[in-house]
Symmetry: C2
Subunit: 95 residues, 2 copies
């Protein structure tokens, strides 16, 4: 659903890979000239999104700052049509 | 170390209990007249901190808003004196 946004140049969607895979994706995007990158995650991946933002700005792109952090809830549905909410986060890192 | 802060009236430190235990702690503190509550977490508990904030403001205290979100890195040390960083989050909910 939101997977598509992962293909946008300034969005990194956090999934099941190790944190360093996403750190490298963010660093690479800054390297191609992006000045603002959105790190997005849902559910348990939210902790990893914070790790990624922190590692990028502390170790790799030291002039990057956390510009904004938004949290929210996305409504999901099981196959049995039971609705439930999943927390989301969007961290904007900018130089 | 920061466990002590859990005893402050307007701080809820997220640990290993189910989310609803912390939701109730926040709702109770708003009920005693607090107008601003800090939800703090480290490491993998960060996702749960976002869940708690979202559940409180969507289901229990509908006039509460997310006033601020801060993330950071805390330096830790193993028994072998190896240093490592742990991500932290502080979500301020306020009425």
């Amino acid at each position: 659903m939101t997977e598509k946004q992962g293909s946008k140049d300034n969005v990194v969607l956090i999934g099941k890979k190790p944190s360093m895979a996403y750190v490298m994706a963010v660093v690479t995007q800054f390297g191609t000239g992006q000045t603002s990158i959105e790190i997005k995650a849902r559910g348990k991946a939210i902790s990893k999104a914070v790790d990624v933002a922190e590692i990028v700005r502390n170790k790799f792109v030291k002039d990057a700052k956390i510009k904004d952090i938004l949290v929210g809830t996305e409504q999901m549905e099981t196959e049995k049509k039971e609705r439930f909410g999943v927390s989301t986060i969007k961290i904007t890192l900018a130089k």
